[in-house]
């Protein structure tokens, strides 16, 4: 258990550092999928295998691919400049991050977590679906959350499209330009 935890924690942390430190955006995106993979390992250890499966499918698979597509379509010279801004504020950022990290680690370790046990999440996708659709007892609120999340995604897509449309115009620039 401890060995597995150390391995997963190391993988998550090293990949996360890779995301921040690597010079190429594509490498950052690939490192990020490694970090997501480590987190899905944590879900397995916490007795939530269905969640781990979704983490792999959605984050490691879909999100990374979408990010790579995004990079492919928008690759511009200013990507380099964005790096130098980060480097100029390196030490200030580093100190803040380290301070926050140390503080959180201290507070979290000071708490007595004895009463908290790892969850026993549904193991089958069917059971997960029943939870999500509110059929099972005691999980009715998830129905509402599930539906709200779907509207949220729709609205987010509309918002993203509205903002990213290029040309300002008088109602004639329907559709994609460029």
């Amino acid at each position: 258990m401890t060995v597995a935890f150390a391995f997963l924690a190391g993988m998550t942390l090293v990949s996360a550092l890779g995301v921040v430190l690597s010079r190429s955006v594509v490498h950052s995106a690939l490192f990020m999928s490694g970090s997501f993979l480590g987190i899905s390992g944590f879900f397995v250890m916490l007795n939530a295998p269905a969640l781990a499966a979704f983490q792999v499918l959605i984050y490691v698979g879909a999100v990374t691919v979408v990010i790579l597509f995004g990079i492919m379509f928008t690759q511009r010279p200013q990507v380099r400049r964005y790096r130098t801004i980060i480097n100029r504020q390196f030490w200030a950022g580093f100190l803040v991050a380290a301070g926050v990290g140390a503080f959180l680690a201290y507070v979290l370790s000071a708490e007595d977590w004895g009463g908290t046990k790892p969850g026993n999440g549904p193991r089958q996708v069917a059971a997960f679906g029943r939870d999500l659709l509110g059929v099972s007892q005691g999980a009715e609120v998830f129905t509402l959350l599930f539906e709200v999340a779907s509207v949220l995604l729709l609205v987010a897509v509309v918002a993203a499209i509205v903002v990213s449309r290029r040309k300002m115009g008088q109602g004639i620039d329907r559709g994609v330009r460029e």
Binding site: G134, L145, V148, V155, V162, V163, R165, G171
Partner: protein, 478 residues
């Protein structure tokens, strides 16, 4: 059957706004020149939400649904009325302008999705539901701020709002997760068992992070930095709407979390609120004093008004608690009418202080409305702002705590501090000579109609106060 028929009645305002949201979005897909149709449908939609909430309120419908995660009570319905009402005026104000951008259906869809998120938000009793609905109200607002592609500040404001907003959301989520971790449940009634007088460090950290996240959403200092840039860049209707509706809903849900989820920890969070209130009032008013741009001035003024409402939160203790809840409800309604009106006048006149020179001679109606809104924002009786402040002062006086007396003192000092910049506009309108820069011919009938209706509501708010306070007393949160 997991979802009962009653639950559908309870969700009526949300179902109506979802329906209209989709229809308005589809209008855009079926034609180029349907801006008028989309605006009409969106206005009808927000009216329908208003009416459905009013009917639920009138029939005394209440109850708890979805395993206790979603609740309909007069308190929630009251805020749904405020949200839907302000959405109606925002749609009217946006109708012509959004038609010119060519993306009217999309813009109106965003307004309706803020309505949906905000009205879900005030009914949620589940921490994760609260997070989801607050995001549903915030994500479209980023796009609304950045919507005006003819002005650079709009994109800049939207970008600043987006980046700081996403950080605030993650801080809020981290706080919620820690609270969930400590109490083992996301339901507010279960959280209440853990959050008693003795808070563990993690519980305290969770509370602190959550309050910081909320403080950002209501633009309380020191988390207010996005406010002036976002409101200056945003289209006027967006600034007017976003400074009112999501803010009212966020205050409502914060009140619900604190009163239902953490009543035992009240001494801790009232102290935090007192601290936030004092800083927010001073920061808002002192920065507003230096602005020459009316939009920016109103943005800082909205920061100051968040501080006044937080002062009511600080008074949620001792004998003043019931009055403090009423104060929050009355202040948000009063603030909604006067602040929306003031923002919409910008659409008629202009955003530079010079545009208001001699306005009383060139456009007396707009000048009179603006004068009323400014006087109401100061809190001159018998205009709307006066009643909000009166209630907060009464609540503070009854709380019996030295800290709250200090907060109330700060509120009085700040009211005096705010006089110069609000009355500066009135002085410009009356004493200066009209110049070529004087505005007043802009805008269209719908904007003018909204401004006049809001001015009338601001003026006669005192007549509403009796039915309103009866409603507020029945709100059932305390």
């Amino acid at each position: 059957m997991a979802v009962s028929g009653q639950a559908f009645i309870a969700l009526l305002p949300e179902l109506i706004s979802t329906g209209f949201l989709i229809v308005v979005l589809l209008v855009g897909a079926f034609g180029e020149s349907n801006a008028g149709v989309a605006a009409g449908l969106a206005a009808l939609g927000s009216l329908a939400v208003f009416v459905s909430a009013a009917v639920l309120l009138a029939t005394g419908f209440s109850g708890s649904f979805f395993g206790g995660g979603y609740v309909v009570d007069p308190f929630a319905l009251y805020f749904k009325l405020i949200v839907a009402g302000s959405a109606f005026f925002a749609v009217l104000a946006a109708a012509r302008w959004s038609g010119r951008t060519g993306d009217a259906p999309e813009y109106l869809t965003l307004i309706l999705s803020v309505v949906l998120g905000a009205s879900l938000l005030v009914s949620m009793r589940d921490l994760f539901g609260i997070f989801l609905s607050i995001e549903l109200a915030t994500i479209p607002s980023y796009a609304m701020v950045a919507f005006d592609r003819s002005r650079r500040e709009s994109a800049e404001g939207g970008m600043k709002y987006l980046i700081t907003g996403v950080i605030a959301s993650s801080v809020l989520l981290y706080g919620i997760v820690l609270i969930y971790g400590v109490s083992g449940s996301a339901q507010l009634s279960d959280v209440a068992n853990t959050f008693t007088g003795n808070l563990t460090p993690v519980a305290l950290l969770g509370l602190g992070l959550m309050v910081s996240g909320f403080a950002f959403k209501v633009s309380a200092a020191p988390f207010h930095f996005w406010t002036p840039d976002a409101y200056q860049g945003a289209p006027t209707s967006a600034a007017a709407f976003l400074s009112v509706a999501p803010k009212a809903a966020t205050f409502a849900v914060l009140l619900r979390i604190l009163l239902e989820g953490m009543p035992g920890a009240a001494p801790t969070w009232t102290a935090v609120m007192a601290f936030l209130a004092i800083i927010t009032m001073f920061v808002g008013n002192l920065f507003a004093l230096r602005q020459r741009n009316v939009r920016r001035m109103l943005a800082y003024s909205s920061v100051a008004h968040s501080g006044y409402i937080l002062a009511a939160f600080a008074a949620l203790q001792g004998g003043g608690a019931a009055f403090a809840v009423q104060a929050v409800l009355i202040y948000t309604a009063a603030y909604a009418v006067m602040n929306m009106g003031a923002f919409l006048v910008i659409d008629l006149v202009g955003e530079d202080a010079k545009n208001y020179n001699g306005l009383v001679r060139t456009n007396p109606a707009a000048a009179a409305s603006m004068g009323l809104f400014m006087a109401a924002l100061v809190g001159i009786p018998p205009l709307s702002g006066f009643f909000g402040k009166l209630w907060i002062i009464i609540a503070g006086a009854q709380s019996g705590s030295i800290l709250v007396y200090i907060v109330v003192g700060a509120l009085v000092v700040n009211t005096v501090l705010s006089v110069p910049y609000y009355f500066g506009i009135i002085r410009n309108m009356i004493l200066e000579e009209p110049t070529s820069e004087t505005g007043g011919s802009k805008g269209n009938g719908a904007v003018r109609f909204s401004v006049y209706v809001l001015a009338i509501l601001t003026t006669f708010f005192g007549l509403l106060i009796i039915p309103l306070s009866a409603l507020v007393k029945a709100s059932g949160l305390l």
